[in-house]
Structures are given as C-alpha cells and as structure tokens.
C-alpha cells in the first residue's frame, strides 16, 4: 500500500515539474529543473522495482544530460547577459494547444482497456517474462535477470545500441570537434576572394 502512495505522490511531483519546465523562460533554471525531473524519475523507477533503470537514469539522465545542456548554454548564451532568457513568440500558439488536447483525450480514452497498474495477469506478464525469470539462472548463471537478458538473450540489441552511440559520438565530433574556421574569419576570406 505504501508503495502506491509514494508512487502517486512522486508522479504528481513529476507532472508539476514538467509543467513548471514548460512555463519558465530562464534556460538555466529550466536545465536545473530538468535535473530534478530526472532525479524524481530515478526515484520512481526504484518504487516500480526497476533498480537497474533507476541507476542508469540517475547517472545518465540527471548527470550527463544536465552537464551537456549546461555546456551548450555556456556556448550559446548572448555576450554580456548573465542568463539566457527565452525570447517570447510573436504570436500565441492556439493550434498546438488544440492538437495536444485532442491527442491527450484520445490517449486517455485508450487507457480504459489497459489492465490496472500492477495486475499480475496482464498480457505483458504472461509471455516471455516467465521464460526469462525461470531460465536465466540455469542458462547464464547471472542472478540479475535484467543483466542476463541485456547481455545474453538480447545481446544483439545491445550491439545495436553500441552502434547508435558510436554513430552519435562520431557525428558530434564531426559537428563541433577539432579546429574549424570561425564564421568571421571565413567571411574575411570570402571578401579577399571577392576583391581578387
């Protein structure tokens, strides 16, 4: 019972944080709130019996993501301004609000068919999950089923994941790594070419 209470309280915090993120305009505060958002989700993953996911979310979501976003803010902020404030839009966006409301209502209608949270006879519990739980120990000798599935049964998935990360790393290095001409220098070169 206490699980469900903690679950509901944390989920409410999470929804509030996300709305605060949406409404704020100071980007530094938004990034900090996003760190809190990730930490809250890590806590929720623990409540939902997923400690591996919680570790990853706390380290990667709250840690690395926040650092990457702060680094980006330091690179893109306007000179002489201590904080980066988001510029207001020229027009008020009603169309997105309508689209979001309609999509949200359709999704809520869809939840009527989902079995209750935590019900043991839901369709998602009755297929391969039982096989993994019963066979992972004799097959791989690893007590943590998540590790056994990640590294053994679905090892090719993990290989694909590594491929994606490698591709992203190469792309990031190509985009912003190494020496490249500054825009000002390049325009001077172009002027010189024009004169010549």
């Amino acid at each position: 019972m206490i699980d469900v209470v903690v679950d509901i309280i944390l989920l409410t915090f999470l929804a509030t944080t996300s709305i605060a993120i949406m409404r704020m305009t100071n980007l530094f505060a938004i990034v900090m709130l996003f760190g809190i958002f990730s930490l809250l989700s890590a806590g929720l993953f623990v409540v939902m019996d997923a400690p591996d996911v919680a570790f990853t979310e706390a380290a990667v979501g709250a840690g690395i993501s926040t650092v990457l976003m702060l680094a980006t803010l330091a690179l893109v902020k306007r000179p002489k301004e201590p904080y980066y404030d988001e510029a207001p839009r020229a027009h008020r966006a009603w169309l997105p609000l309508i689209v979001v409301t309609i999509t949200g209502s359709a999704l809520v209608y869809g939840t009527w068919d989902i079995p209750n949270f935590g019900s043991p006879d839901a369709p998602s519990q009755t297929h391969v999950a039982r096989f993994y739980l019963e066979n992972s120990m004799p097959d791989t000798g690893v007590p943590n089923t998540v590790t056994a599935v990640l590294a053994s049964y679905r090892g090719f998935d993990t290989l694909g994941e590594v491929t994606v990360i490698f591709t992203a790393a190469v792309a990031v290095l190509l985009l912003i790594g190494g020496k490249r001409p500054k825009p000002a220098l390049r325009s001077k070169d172009e002027e010189a070419q024009d004169e010549a």
Binding site: I30, V31, D49, L68, T72, L75, V100, V146, I165, A171
Partner: protein
C-alpha cells in the same frame, strides 16, 4: 476508486507526454525544444516500466524465497532507450551549437527571419 488508482500512472504518463509535445511544437527556443523532447521520452519510459510492474513483486534479481518478480523485459528495453536517448540529445545539442555559430541565435523566429531576409 480502484480504477483511478490503477490508471493514475498511465494518466500521468499522458500528461507528461502532452507537456513534452506542447513544448516541442509551441516554443521557439531550440534548447527548450530539446528539453521538451526529453520529457516526452521519459514519459515513454514510465509507460513501459508501469506495464512491467507486478503488485507485491520484487526487483528481477533471482533470490531464495522470493516468489513474485517484476517483468525484466521492459527494464532491459528502457535501459537501452535511456542510453540511446542521451546519445541523440548530445547530437541535437551539437547541432544547436553549430546553428548558433552560423546564425548567431537559437530562437526559431529569428532564424526564420534571417533565412528570408537573404
């Protein structure tokens, strides 16, 4: 009452998803759009983990005397998704830095005006 408690997770997932979607399509700042995309992503993580939870279940680590475990498969899928999500976020932020270098701004409206004043 039982129906509300049993479906509260899914409704919060939908709220988070819609907040993320709204931030992506209505805000003009590129960093804020990326944060909206991340909120959307986290909502999908919650959908999966909620579907894998079993009432009274333990974390899926095999131990003596434990009968009920949560479903390990959503955990595996979401572990992969979190790491891939950070890789794509890093790529998006790198693109934002390049846009800033080329246009001098990361506000969508200003970029649009610059494109049309050339």
């Amino acid at each position: 009452m039982e129906f509300i408690i049993g479906h509260y997770n899914y409704w919060v997932v939908i709220v988070l998803m819609m907040v993320g979607l709204y931030t992506v399509i209505s805000r003009g700042n590129l960093v804020k759009k990326i944060i909206g995309l991340n909120i959307f992503q986290v909502s999908v993580f919650f959908l999966y983990i909620s579907l894998g939870t079993v009432e009274g279940g333990a974390a899926p680590i095999i131990a003596e005397g434990v009968k009920v475990y949560s479903n390990p498969l959503p955990h595996v899928l979401i572990l992969t998704a979190i790491v891939v999500g950070v890789a794509t976020t890093a790529l998006a932020l790198a693109l934002v830095v390049r846009i800033k270098e080329t246009y001098g701004t990361i506000e969508e409206d200003e970029i649009h005006n610059l494109d049309h004043s050339l």
